[in-house]
């Protein structure tokens, strides 16, 4: 229970810091070093290091399981079947123990409180009131956004036509969730597709934004954590996984404003009842297989 | 024709009094040299006349019209004068003819008139046919003359020259001296020129104003300055010569107990005598002195003699005299420096 742990994560800076701090408080002998960036970038970095023969990371904590599936298939992950998964739905962790979901991050609609129309459905974003007022993360830069796109096109009756309608309505797809929040909170756009915790947390701090779980349901990523096969500190990494999955770790996730993955932990303030959140299903394996096609389809619609 | 009057003109740069209450008149058609050591304020006076600097006190009048004072200024472009800078300040992006034509363009003349007058001005400085040349390719003297043509082309009757010969070599200098003299004769303009070289001032000007530390020391004809310097500064700066102290008794001046023929005003019991080498000759009888040093100068040997009282005089000898050798010299002429 000493030495260090290198964490590559796509969590926002503050959350990453809190997670690291909490873990280090529990294991004072271990120093956590973390690097944060958007999921594609952190993966690019990891792969570049891999190519240079010096991967630094012990644990990956990133947005989506699709990427994890890919890594697992390449044999880059260390299986940890002994992990304590009590209270976790079986769909929330890999059967071989290669990765474990840590929370549910849903993507819904954010609006600026100055907006006249309060959206309730995804389709509201194609209304004329929202013309030119929609910001959304680009699936080309955000992993969560890609899963969101796949989920919506799979589940909505309109499929890709919904996205075509969005594009026609002047929706702007670029950057990541942070850019969407900045645009909507700053009043430059009135509506946005965004992960739940950002607007809920900022609204609590007083930002003029509100979050809506659309009636059709929301997409979700589960922010899985995994130990890398190349980890220099596998023991510390296991402790870290255990910590994330423990009641304590899950409470921390909740206190940071996320929906915890483990049953029996209270949702943070600002969220509806757990039962009211309808999560749309999605097929990770298919998503992985079609990743390029989906990106290209999106790029075509939005002219990127 | 223009008369320029400077009235207690003063220019201060910060704490530095560059020009200190200078008053003098430049008559129409006069050729005046401003002479003085480096930093004495010559250029500053020229720039005050041209209107590039504003007086700190005093005033400048052109023909009775005030053009410069601490309160109000006529800008240079409305003073209608010509100026030649030490650097010539030819504009490198224009050819010779365009440089000369520029002042005419400023006055809005037509093409034909301009061409004609530019031609005439270049003719005057013996540069006919140089119009299409680039100024970069010109020699120092040629540049000098282009600058002169530019300043003459409008027929202005005030011409200001700042050290016009300083950048030229000996031969060009002689040539340009001629050009200036001819120019003055032809145009009858009021010319002011600045120099630190007394021989230039003596040779060219009909009036020399000697400056020192911003103050006018003497103003007069060249002969006057040379023969009757008003004070020790002028005596030391103009021409060669040494000051020795003589005694006065009963209105008669004696040096080493020998009477001396002097010009000037006797005051008190002592007199500062200016002795110039051309007025001293070695003589069998005369004032005793010892040779200190002799330096060959071509025309003779500049020989420094030491009097019994330790003061030194300069004399031109035909032969080299050994240091230490006792000699006697006679004084043909001496001037009592006032003050």
């Amino acid at each position: 229970q000493e030495g260090k742990l290198v964490l590559y994560t796509s969590q926002p800076n503050t959350d990453a810091q809190q997670t690291a701090d909490a873990f280090m408080a529990k294991y004072p002998g271990i120093t956590v070093e973390w690097v944060r960036d958007g999921t594609p970038k952190i993966m690019a970095k990891f792969r570049a290091e891999l190519e240079a023969g010096a991967p630094l990371a012990d644990v990956l904590l990133i947005a989506d399981v699709v990427t994890m599936e890919g890594l697992k298939a390449e044999g880059l992950l260390l299986n940890y079947p002994e992990a304590d998964t009590t209270g976790f739905d079986a769909s929330l962790f890999d059967e071989d123990g290669a990765y474990f979901s840590t929370k549910l991050i849903t993507t819904g609609i954010v609006y600026n409180t100055a907006a006249t129309m309060v959206p309730a459905s995804w389709l509201d974003l194609t209304k004329p009131e929202a013309k030119g007022q929609i910001a959304m993360p680009s699936p080309l830069t955000s992993g969560a956004a890609l899963i969101h796109t796949v989920t919506l096109t799979d589940n909505l009756a309109e499929g890709w036509d919904f996205y075509s309608a969005l594009a026609a309505n002047g929706a702007q797809a670029s950057g990541g969730n942070g850019d969407v929040l900045t645009a909507v909170a700053g009043g430059e756009k009135l509506y946005g597709m965004i992960v739940d915790y950002l607007p809920i947390r900022e609204a609590a701090k007083g930002a003029p934004v509100a979050f809506v779980f659309p009636t059709e349901g929301v997409s979700a990523v589960t922010e899985p954590a995994a130990i890398l096969a190349s980890a220099h500190n596998p023991d510390n990494a296991k402790l870290f996984i255990d910590f994330l999955l423990s009641e304590e770790g899950q409470q921390l996730a909740s206190s940071q404003g996320y929906v915890p993955a483990r049953d029996g932990i209270a949702l943070p303030a600002g969220y509806p009842d757990r039962a009211e959140i309808k999560v749309l299903p999605y097929n990770a394996a298919a998503a992985l297989a079609n990743e390029t096609a989906n990106k290209e389809q999106f790029g075509e619609i939005f002219g990127q | 024709m223009t008369t320029i009057v400077l009235d207690t003109l003063t220019k201060r740069f910060g704490d530095n009094l560059a020009v200190n209450a200078a008053s003098f008149t430049l008559e129409t058609g006069s050729f005046t040299a401003l002479l003085g050591p480096s930093g004495c304020g010559k250029t500053t006076i020229l720039r005050l006349i041209a209107g590039f600097e504003q007086p700190s006190a005093g005033s400048i009048h052109f023909n009775g019209r005030q053009v410069g004072s601490p309160g109000a200024m006529v800008p240079p472009e409305r003073r209608s004068l010509g100026i030649v800078f030490q650097s010539y300040a030819l504009w490198p992006h224009m050819d010779v003819a365009s440089n000369v034509a520029y002042p005419l363009q400023a006055r809005g003349l037509g093409r034909a008139a301009i061409d004609e007058r530019v031609g005439a001005a270049l003719e005057m400085v013996s540069l006919a046919g140089f119009g299409q040349r680039s100024v970069d390719g010109l020699s120092g003297g040629q540049r000098q003359r282009v600058a002169l043509a530019r300043c003459l082309v409008t027929g202005t009757d005030i011409i200001l020259l700042d050290e016009p010969l300083a950048n030229l070599d000996v031969h060009l200098r002689a040539e340009m001296l001629d050009v200036f003299a001819r120019l003055h004769e032809k145009t009858g303009a009021t010319i002011v020129f600045v120099t630190h070289d007394q021989s230039e001032a003596l040779a060219l000007a009909d009036r020399v104003i000697v400056l020192d530390r911003g103050v006018v020391q003497q103003s007069g004809r060249p002969e006057q300055l040379y023969n009757e310097p008003a004070n020790a500064m002028v005596a030391g700066f103009v021409g060669r010569g040494m000051l020795v102290s003589a005694l006065v008794s009963d209105g008669r001046v004696t040096l080493a107990d020998r009477p001396v023929l002097v010009r000037g005003q006797v005051q008190g019991s002592k007199a500062a005598l200016l002795l110039r080498p051309e007025n001293l000759t070695l003589a069998d009888a005369g004032i005793p002195a010892a040779v200190v040093a002799a330096r060959y100068s071509g025309a003779g040997y500049d020989t420094i003699l030491q009097l019994a009282n330790g003061e030194q005089v300069l004399l031109t000898a035909r032969e080299r005299l050994e240091p230490g050798r006792p000699v006697h010299f006679a004084i043909e002429d001496a001037w009592i420096v006032p003050g």
């Binding site: 009043g187 | 010539y88 504009w91 520029y102």
Partner: protein, 529 residues
């Protein structure tokens, strides 16, 4: 550079061609040329009048204005962009306080082409200012005074004499501003990427960051494109200059008296500078004081929590400050030590070699940082014989900094060496001192202040640097620029603003320090003096 791009054997012309025909690439090329060109024009329009007023008139507050005008050069472009976005958006606390904020739902007017051009103009106005000022002080007052004595008023003298003589400098300034625009990443990253308005620099970044090193060959092709545009710009400048070099005499620099326009001119200048600098800085400070982006600043909402968060709680920010500090310090120190022997060595080379060496040293500075970063990745990704792989270590950033800022450190030293009369060292040789002794006892002490000035410039530039480290940083080796960009991307604008404010303060302190040193430097090293 080119060799670096080809080191990776996978480079292939067909890939480049593929790139070229893609719509996104064509659009990016057009956007790059478009924004750089108009940005350069705007920089000329902003920097030109200031250069004239500051260098050639008796306007009051000249020195202060010169100092302020130089600031955009020392402030990272992304900080600048951030400040302006916070100034002009619907949630602008400053405009809000005045009741001038645009209504919610109004896109930030700075996003996209117009804003990029505007900020290029502001960011590169100092380059124009410095270049033109050097030109203006090289025009002796005699030229102007001769023209006025010829009867021309100040306005016509300006048009007929000053501007033609200034021609080469205007061209040089425009070319520099243009090339700087081509290479700029921070401004199009913050103002263009949110709208998918991509320039070549941001296109490369986006490609690389979403696809990883697998796209390196294509990206290398894009980098070559940027190089080509930058070299074209510099080449065009050289061509234009060849025909208009004038030999000027030396003398006191010219000065126009503004008369009763002195104070109005000074006020107008200060007003323009406040709009361009002080207001955005104020906006940045305001943003850094609110708990969440979009919250109006009031006595009830004001908080120092963002500063506490970035300074006290986030290890990464503190680490970034430490990293940036020691990387920039190291780079500055190494370059300061190398500058004197390097400059001396280059002065010894035959003319053509010296010019070549100069080109090699200047290129990394003229090139977009992102291109340099790619070159470094290509060079150092594979393990080196003795050192192992430098990638994912701080050393790769240091090396990149050394390459990028060598020109910056060398300039003042070369200026000082140029001003150093050769007879000072010759006198030492005649005194019996050998080459090494001469270097240590005469040359080095005499140019030391210039080397120090160069080192400070390097430090300031490296401290702010984003474009190079954005691709080269790794775990624990983040730099301030990286943190700033990443905070902004995570939607933590107030914290980003706090970091930006802190770097601004550091830079200002350093500049003040440099100003103090100015008495002992050769003239022309400090651009605002």
């Amino acid at each position: 550079m080119a060799t670096a791009l080809f080191v990776d054997g996978t480079f292939d012309a067909s890939l480049l061609l593929n790139r070229l025909v893609r719509g996104a690439t064509q659009r990016a090329i057009f956007n790059t040329l478009d924004t750089s060109l108009f940005g350069a024009l705007l920089a000329l329009m902003l920097g030109g009048p200031f250069a004239l007023l500051i260098a050639a008139t008796d306007m009051p507050l000249r020195k202060l204005q010169g100092f302020l005008l130089i600031l955009p050069l020392m402030i990272a472009p992304q900080v600048m962009a951030l400040a302006f976005m916070h100034l002009l958006g619907p949630s602008s606390a400053l405009l809000g306080a005045l009741g001038l904020a645009p209504p919610p739902g109004t896109a930030n007017p700075l996003l996209g082409r117009g804003g990029i051009i505007l900020l290029f103009g502001i960011q590169h106005a100092p380059i124009v200012f410095i270049t033109l000022r050097a030109g203006l002080v090289s025009i002796p007052r005699d030229y102007v005074e001769a023209a006025r004595a010829a009867g021309m008023g100040p306005a016509r003298v300006l048009r007929g004499i000053v501007l033609p003589l200034l021609g080469p400098y205007v061209i040089a300034a425009a070319a520099l501003a243009f090339v700087s625009g081509v290479g700029n990443f921070g401004i199009p990253a913050l103002l263009g990427m949110p709208e998918n308005y991509l320039t070549l620099a941001t296109l490369i970044y986006q490609q690389l960051s979403s696809n990883g090193p697998t796209v390196l060959p294509q990206v290398a092709g894009l980098s070559l494109l940027i190089c080509a545009i930058a070299i074209l710009g510099i080449g065009a400048q050289g061509l234009a200059l060849r025909r208009r070099q004038f030999a000027l005499t030396r003398g006191m620099p010219m000065q126009f008296a503004l008369g009763r326009w002195r104070w109005p001119a000074a006020m107008a200048g200060m007003l323009a500078l406040s709009v361009a600098l002080l207001l955005p800085a104020a906006a940045l400070i305001t943003t850094s004081l609110v708990p969440a982006y979009g919250v109006a600043l009031s006595t009830a909402t004001v908080t120092l929590d963002n500063y506490a968060e970035v300074l006290l709680r986030q290890a990464s920010t503190m680490r970034a400050f430490v990293n940036s500090s020691y990387l920039s310090l190291l780079a500055a120190a190494i370059l300061a030590l190398l500058a004197v022997p390097l400059a001396l060595g280059m002065a010894r080379l035959p003319r053509t070699f010296a010019r070549l060496a100069h080109g090699v040293l200047e290129l990394p500075y003229a090139l977009p940082g992102i291109v340099l970063a790619i070159a470094c990745i290509l060079l150092f990704l594979r393990p080196l014989p003795l050192l192992g792989s430098l990638y994912a270590t701080p050393w790769i950033i240091l090396i990149a900094y050394l390459m990028r800022f060598a020109a910056l450190a060398l300039k003042p030293v070369e200026a000082a060496l140029g001003q150093l009369p050769p007879d000072l060292t010759e006198a030492a040789a005649a005194s019996g001192a050998g080459a090494i002794r001469r270097l240590l006892t005469i040359t080095a002490p005499l140019v030391a202040p210039a080397a120090a000035a160069g080192a400070l410039l390097v430090f300031m530039s490296a401290f702010n640097e984003l474009t190079v480290s954005a691709l080269l940083w790794s775990s624990r080796n983040e730099t301030i620029g990286v943190i700033l960009f990443s905070l902004e991307e995570s939607g933590l604008s107030p914290q980003a603003a706090a970091v930006a404010v802190i770097t601004l303060v550091v830079i200002m302190v350093l500049l003040a320090l440099l100003d103090r040193l100015s008495g002992r430097l050769p003239t022309g090293v400090l651009p605002w003096r």
